[in-house]
Symmetry: C2
Subunit: 217 residues, 2 copies
DNA sequence: GAAAAGATTAACTAAATAGTCAAACCAATG
DNA sequence: CATTGGTTTGACTATTTAGTTAATCTTTTC
């Protein structure tokens, strides 16, 4: 985790992310978080005061990490196709390394994004990406601008950039979000997980690349 | 809801679906479910005994409803392209009518799908789709078979049917799952929701149709 | 190496919440 | 219109769980 936290705090945050992702803000149990981190429950309160504060710290971390890392490829040099491929690869890797991330964000959304709304200003003001100077809140606009650029350059069809952004992200995320349920019904799938994850990158790229390629009809 | 439940039970199930979707199996509060249904809390126990049993009833209903309705277009007549379009339209409509559905399923998955695993046999044995004779568990295979057929008929590229299935479903679901967070960051999006939902259908179809179209290179 | 500061723990308290129950209500039936 | 069966309710109990505290261990500092 980030450097502003010591080892114990990082262990707590990591365990909390897991538990909040699995059971939600209210469903997660402080005792379970402590057990997962291998620490006494009182320590959670010693370092983070309350469950609500702990959640907010986890949220702030996840939000920064998730969104900052996603925009990096979009600012690199290269053709539209190359950047698109980079973006998809990076995003799949990010999700693969942190499978709890999307569920954590989706839960926050499902609950009406109360913490997001409450801290949105603070996050935007405090946590600028040192490299780009962007705020994480600029992510949608950065992605949209990328697809708009593709349209201008003639690399892709006139497809609505917003719709495209949702499709690409959804195709990436859903694999990780739904894998367990497909694995439960389709025997043998679990063993293929690593291979499918790797193949997923090129699959999504090709689907989107050819799906958006200018057509002559 | 289904006919096997009386009016009160249906009200409870509907309210429970909402609350479980928002807050999870453990996070949901029996009192909140009762309030939402406009009923006394004791009635929930009168009809469903415990929170856990109530959850399982909701799950069984949702699972049947969600998966049964999804397969219908796949069994209709028509070209590969027509059926694909039908499937996407139906699926987006289904999600639009029941926005709580995907989150409910995703939560179950996030928790390790304990109820799904426990009841999987029972659901498969008891709840056959009267029209097709399929069990809901056959859904992935039905979808896979559909895309395999497309490959055989030369309508689509050799793309892995599993990957394709995930991409299509993810593109449909993510729009509804993530809309609130984009709406929070992008002013004016909320007002466009209905139009975007409608446009979404053709967008996904075109992306997938052209993305999978056989190419000559 | 003693004292102070910080980290960690087990046992405890306060509050929230699932679940119970006996009484009240209501609709059907004779 | 009294009786019976199913339904609904408010008040209650038992249990779970967030949060506290005082005592103990550990590390740093002089």
């Amino acid at each position: 985790m980030s450097t502003q936290f010591n080892e114990t705090e990082q262990a707590i945050l990591a365990a909390a992310l897991e538990e909040f992702s699995k059971h939600g803000r209210q469903g997660a149990r402080m005792q379970d978080i402590a057990d997962r981190a291998g620490l006494n429950k009182a320590l959670l309160h010693y370092y983070f005061r309350s469950k609500e504060r702990l959640y907010e710290e986890v949220f702030t971390y996840v939000f920064r990490h998730y969104f900052t890392r996603m925009t990096t490829p979009l600012r690199s040099d290269g053709s539209f196709a190359e950047i698109l491929r980079q973006f998809i690869h990076q995003y799949v890797d990010l999700l693969n390394e942190n499978p709890a991330l999307p569920m954590f964000m989706l839960r926050e959304v499902a609950e009406g994004a109360p913490v997001f709304r409450r801290r949105i200003g603070e996050i935007a003001a405090t946590h600028l990406d040192p490299e780009s100077g962007d705020t994480p809140l600029g992510l949608p606009n950065t992605i949209l601008a990328f697809f708009e650029r593709g349209v201008r350059e003639g690399a892709v069809t006139q497809a609505d950039p917003f719709q495209t952004m949702i499709s690409v992200m959804g195709a990436c995320i859903y694999f990780f979000a739904a894998f367990p349920i497909f694995a439960a019904v389709m025997p043998g799938l679990e063993q293929q997980r690593a291979a499918l994850t790797e193949a997923r990158k090129d699959h999504i790229f090709e689907l989107v690349y050819y799906g958006l390629k200018p057509r002559t009809e």
